[in-house]
Amino acid sequence: MSSTILNLPDQSTATVPKRNYLTNENGLMSWLLTGDHKRIAILYLISITFFFFIGGALAGLIRLELLTPQSDLMASDTYNKIFTMHGVIMVFLFLVPSVPATLGNFMIPIMVGAKDLAFPKINLLSWYLYLVGGGMTLAAMITGGVDTGWTFTTPMSTHFSNTNVVTTGLAVFVAGFSSIFTGLNFIVTIHRMRAPGMTWFKLPLFCWSHYAASILMVLGTPVLAITLVLVVLERTIGIGVFDPTKGGDPILFQHLFWFYSHPAVYIMILPGMGVISEVISTFARKRVFGYTAVAFSSVAIAVFGFFVWAHHMFIMGVSNYAVLVFSLLTMLVAVPSAIKIFNWAFTLYKGSITFETPMLYAFGFMGLFTIGGLTGVFLGSAGTDIHLTETYFIVAHFHFVMVGGMLMAFLSGVHFWWPKMTGRMYPEKISQLAAVVTFIGFNFTFFPQFLVGMLGMPRRYAAYPQEFQVLNVFSTAGASILGVGYLLPIIYLLWSLKYGAIAGNNPWRATGLEWQIQSPPLTENFTTIPIVTQDVYDYEWLDAQKEHEVTHVG
């Protein structure tokens, strides 16, 4: 591996600054009643990691069952509950809040030059709502589970399932408001609390991505909320809006559900793309190529993302002409993502590149998101969607974009900003190893799923025809490797809290306001509100700074 850009203070004399947001106040209540966006971010980080591992354990059980063609590890009903809970937890309790609620919460106020988000109390409320939603989900899981699939398809969920649909539906409803309030906070903060001189086009692309994702959170999630309310009402008192025997239409549910759940996937990926912009820029020592194009692409993805929902319904008997419209729009929404990938690739051109862990994860993102995104085009084209939909091809597609894309971006961001959040460096060698292990494990797990889906293996099957076994075994083997790749960071990141090297203000010599302040930051972030005169990603300005101004501690 090449020499790093790592710029640490003298380890023999450096210490973590005594006064910082972690040490400012002590005691449990100071955490549970905090308004500090950074503490809330840490609270979220702990919570979503907890739920991630539950969702991951469920995934492990799925893969174990699928080692053999028979449904022999557990009863079918149990398997159905397990993949449902896996989906619900991973989508609503991990992917949606992951980057925004942790890294977004932590960094956005600092990046815009503010002392906190616009509404700190609502930020805290948002975390409590998340906990309530998560708690209700766990309760539903423990008291019998849910087996409708995370998509709550009616009439299965309203009339035929005998499981905790109502509890889970309400849990997601509550967690949805957590998401709405986070998005609301971000939009208002970015609009109203930028420091003097911080114009829109001096904002880091991380902020642009979060802004676009927040628009989706704020406008889309309420539709999911009301849809779940209707499902709960139908299930409890039988109102009949989705019941064909009473004149209702189950396809209406599909429209309402996917109207949120398609933008939801962009809610999940856009913040990750924001991380990639920051990481690639830093580790190539270059401003992002085509900053304006990337910024506008983020917004374009958000806008177009609202108009493609029925591509989840191509085979459900919607009119052929509706299919034409949605297929066309789906092709259009793919273009901004392609633009971003190429812009990131060209950011590397004539850069000065090093391969620290965040950069490795970013490269993984680029490859895997490209594959995932392109397979999305396979699905957006109506004729091929007929063959591929509802098979493992779909499962592979969304795991490539969500796990190969989003989760890698999340890990990239966590490693990138770890020194800022904790004042400590993670250990580089083992983390690079973990990144590589994750990449390999991921490909082994999910690439065979494209193949087995192309062959026709349906999704949500506990048992399958014998001829699909080899590919499934590969997939499970990969999953075990992937699990190792995810466990390692927990271990060494926790280790680094005590034993990691002291990071100093700017170990990466990165641009951005967050790197000009101490690590970990003060509670109020800045002692004086900065006045921003330099450009975003201004490496020339950075290099002109005196060494100690950039890297001193505290």
Binding site: A114, K115, D116, L117, A118, F119, P120, I122, I180, L184, N185, I187, V188, H191, R192, M193, V218, L219, G220, T221, P222, V223, I226, T227, V229, L233, I237, G238, I239, G240, V241, K246, G247, G248, D249, L252, L256, L513, Q516, I517, Q518, L522, E524, F526, T527, T528, I529, P530, I531, V532, T533, Q534, D535, D538, E540, W541, A544, Q545, E549, G554
Partner: protein
């Protein structure tokens, strides 16, 4: 670029400018605080529009499909109560606006009386809704097990005199869809009213003890926005639910 001030050096403290005690310190000025809070409230109301939007979409589709059932269902609602409720809410929006003005101009009695007026009108609205819901319960028009659609195949003389036609059984069954939407929409609206009334009580309590007279009136102003929004939702619900094909 050479004289950037972007680095925040530790140890410097800004001159502590004069500011009201209720300025939250993550804001640099009162102006920023009020503008930001207002922006946040408007954005929240936008999410509320999306929230009700799902119900309006369902209403649109089913009214299109089952128009005769919607007409018959709508005629079961009492225009008198509906109109009275509309009047009550419009008046309560007026009293709320007076309350905001009173707070802005530091009129203590004006604020208290305006809030009391809004509260009474709001509770009146809910009272009337209770009367209406009770009537629905008695007539077995609440969707679910006890829903009675047979009455729509055989309207009473009174109803026929008003122009109601008997519905075929399968269309009569669709009145359950109408009433489902009626209860979902007015119920969700009523829930928002209840939340509003709870907040109103809190505000009134604080106002009675002299609050909101020091210029810190963001809560009153933003609550006013919320209250007007709930009123506007009702202004849409009333004609859509009560006034389908009324020709007298």
């Amino acid at each position: 670029m050479s004289d950037s001030h972007a680095i925040a050096a530790a140890g410097e403290h800004e001159v502590h400018e004069e500011h009201p005690p209720y300025l939250r310190h993550h804001f640099v000025s009162m102006e920023q605080q009020t503008e930001t809070t207002s922006f946040g409230m408007w954005l929240f109301l936008l999410t509320e529009i999306m929230f009700f939007g799902g119900l309006f979409t369902a209403y649109l589709i089913y009214r299109n499909w089952y128009y005769p059932a919607f007409v018959a269902g709508s005629h079961q609602l009492d225009i008198f109560w509906g109109s009275l409720n509309t009047l009550l809410l419009i008046c309560s929006s007026f009293t709320m606006a007076m309350g905001v003005w009173s707070a802005e101009t530091k009129r203590h009695k004006g604020l208290v009386w305006s809030l009391i007026g809004t509260l009474i009108l709001g509770i009146g609205f809910l009272g009337i809704k209770t009367i209406e819901y009770t009537e629905k319960y008695e007539k077995h028009h609440i969707p679910g097990h006890n829903f009675d659609w047979k009455g729509f195949t055989n309207p009473t003389q009174e109803e026929i005199a008003k122009g109601d036609k008997p519905l075929a059984p399968d269309m009569a069954q669709k009145t359950e869809v109408y009433f489902s939407l009626y209860f979902a929409m007015t119920g969700m609206h009523a829930l928002h009213m209840i939340i509003g009334i709870a907040l109103l009580c809190g505000m009134l309590f604080k106002a009675l003890r002299g609050g909101y007279m020091d210029g810190h009136i963001a809560f009153v102003e933003n609550f006013g926005l919320y209250w007007h929004f709930v009123d506007i939702v009702w202004i849409f619900l009333f004609p859509l639910l009560y006034l389908i094909s009324r020709h007298q």
